[in-house]
C-alpha cells in the first residue's frame, strides 16, 4: 500500500497514482480496450471489401491503410481521455490538487496510450499479413507504430482538452487533430514503403523519434493549458 504522507508525495508519486487509477478504470470496462482494437481491425478489413481483392493493389495500399486506421482508432479513443472525468467532476478536482498539471496530464496520456496505442502495435503485424506484406515491411510497420502512436496520443490530448464540454466534441476533436497527425502518418506509412522497396526506413524512423521527443516536451503543457481554459 502506498503510504505517502502529505509531505513527500513526489511528482513521480502523482504520475503513478494517475496511471494506476486510469488503468484500473480501463480494466473495469475492459470492453473499451477491446473495442478500440476491434475498430482498428474492422476498418483495415473493410477496405478490401470496398476496393476489391487484387493482392497487388492491396500490397501497395497496405501501409497507408493500416496507418490511417491507426490514426482513426487513436482519434476515436481520444474522446475518452478527459471527457468522462470532465462530466463527473473528477477533472475539476484534479485541477485543484496541489500537483503540477503537466505531470497529471502526462500520466493520463501514458495510461491512454497503454490502453489504446499499444494493442494496435501488437496486432498490426497480423493485419499486415492479411495484406501480404513481406517480413521487413511487417517489422517496420510495428516499429513505426510503436514510435508513432504515442505522438498521436500526445497531440490528441491537446485536442481533447480543447473540446471538453463543447457540444459535438467527439467529431470536433477529429477536425482539430487529424491535420496535425499528418506528418506522423506520412513518415509512418512512408517508412514502411521505403523498407519494402529496399531503401531503408532509418530516416523515417528517426524523424518519428524526433516528433515523439518534441511532443513529449510540449504537449503536456499545451494540454494542461487547454484543460484550464476548458474549466473556466
Amino acid at each position: 500500500m502506498n503510504r505517502a504522507g502529505s509531505v513527500d508525495f513526489s511528482l513521480w508519486g502523482a504520475f503513478r497514482c494517475i496511471v494506476a487509477r486510469d488503468l484500473t478504470l480501463a480494466m473495469r470496462r475492459r470492453a473499451d480496450v477491446l473495442t478500440t482494437l476491434f475498430f482498428f481491425v474492422i476498418v483495415v478489413s473493410l477496405f478490401p471489401l470496398g476496393i476489391g481483392p487484387e493482392m497487388a493493389t492491396l500490397r501497395i495500399m497496405a501501409p497507408g491503410v493500416v496507418w490511417v486506421a491507426a490514426l482513426l482508432a487513436s482519434m476515436l479513443s481520444l474522446e475518452r481521455m478527459f471527457s468522462a472525468d470532465y462530466r463527473d467532476g473528477t477533472l475539476e478536482q484534479m485541477l485543484l490538487t496541489p500537483q503540477p498539471l503537466p505531470v497529471l496530464v502526462l500520466g493520463k496520456v501514458f495510461a491512454h496510450w497503454l490502453v489504446s496505442g499499444l494493442p494496435l502495435v501488437l496486432i498490426a503485424p497480423l493485419l499486415g499479413v492479411q495484406y501480404d506484406l513481406p517480413p521487413e515491411g511487417l517489422l517496420i510497420l510495428a516499429v513505426s507504430l510503436l514510435v508513432g502512436t504515442p505522438v498521436l496520443s500526445l497531440i490528441g490530448a491537446i485536442g481533447a482538452g480543447l473540446t471538453l464540454g463543447v457540444r459535438g466534441g467527439g467529431v470536433l476533436v477529429s477536425l482539430l487533430v487529424l491535420p496535425l497527425y499528418i506528418p506522423v502518418l506520412i513518415f509512418g506509412a512512408g517508412g514502411v514503403d521505403a523498407a519494402m522497396s529496399g531503401l531503408g526506413a532509418q530516416a523515417h524512423l528517426s524523424l518519428l523519434g524526433a516528433f515523439l521527443l518534441g511532443a513529449l516536451i510540449l504537449a503536456p503543457w499545451a494540454a494542461g493549458a487547454a484543460l484550464r481554459i476548458s474549466m473556466e
Partner: protein
C-alpha cells in the same frame, strides 16, 4: 485568511454582482445564500480559482490566488455540484485517489474509518455506480475527513443527503471551525452550526 475585494462577476450578458468585498477569518463560516440563479455557484468557482473574475481580486494570506495557484490548492478543498466520483471505481478507491492527489494521508485504515463515519460501512467495495444518489455524495464528502486543508468551499453539500447525514456534516463543519478552519458554503437549507462564527452574504 481569504480576502475578496471589489469582485465582479459577469455571466453572458448579465452582471451578477459587482463591488463585492468580504473576508473569511480562521474559525469563520461564510454562508452565501440567495435565490436560484443569483450567482452563488459562480462566486464559489471564482473563490477556488476555477473561473477568473471579470474584475477585482481574491487573495489568500495577502497574495493573489492566481499567482499562488498550486500553493493555494494545498490549503483549499472544493466540493461542487458534481461529486467528482468515478462510477467504475469502488467507494474506497475513489476516496484513496482523491486523498493521494490532494496530498493527504492515504493509509488504508484511515480511509476505511472515514467511510465508516460517513455511514458507508459494508459498501466500501461496491462500485460507485450502484450507489444511490445520496451515497455517492457521502463518498465525496468523506474526503473532508482526511484532507488537512484549512479552507473548505462547499457548494450545496447537503443535496440528496438524508437527515442523519446532514447532521453529521454539520457536526464536521463545527469541528473544522473549532480547529481554526474556514468554510464558505451555499445551501438552501438552514445551517445549524454549534461552534464558530457564522456570517452571511445575501446575493440577489
Amino acid at each position: 485568511m481569504l480576502e475578496v475585494s471589489n469582485l465582479e462577476c459577469v455571466r453572458g450578458d448579465r452582471r451578477l454582482f459587482a463591488g463585492m468585498n468580504f473576508s473569511v477569518q480562521p474559525g469563520e463560516l461564510l454562508h452565501v445564500h440567495g435565490p436560484n440563479g443569483s450567482g452563488k455557484t459562480s462566486l464559489l468557482r471564482m473563490l477556488c480559482g476555477l473561473a477568473a473574475p471579470a474584475e477585482g481580486e481574491i487573495r489568500w494570506n495577502g497574495e493573489s490566488i492566481r499567482s499562488l495557484r498550486e500553493d493555494y490548492c494545498k490549503e483549499m478543498t472544493y466540493f461542487g455540484h458534481l461529486a467528482g466520483i468515478k462510477e467504475e471505481l469502488t467507494a474506497l478507491e475513489n476516496l484513496r485517489v482523491a486523498v493521494q492527489l490532494a496530498g493527504g494521508d492515504s493509509a488504508e485504515d484511515g480511509l476505511l474509518d472515514a467511510l465508516d463515519r460517513m455511514g458507508l460501512a459494508g459498501r466500501e467495495d461496491l462500485p460507485a455506480k450502484v450507489l444511490s444518489q445520496g451515497q455517492k455524495r457521502r463518498v465525496a464528502l468523506a474526503r473532508l475527513l482526511l484532507c488537512p486543508t484549512r479552507l473548505w468551499i462547499l457548494d450545496e453539500p447537503f443535496t440528496a443527503l438524508d437527515v442523519t447525514a446532514v447532521k453529521m456534516v454539520q457536526q464536521l463543519l463545527s469541528e473544522h471551525l473549532h480547529n481554526g478552519g474556514m468554510v464558505v458554503l451555499t445551501t438552501h437549507q438552514e445551517v445549524d452550526i454549534p461552534a464558530g462564527t457564522v456570517r452571511r452574504i445575501h446575493l440577489n
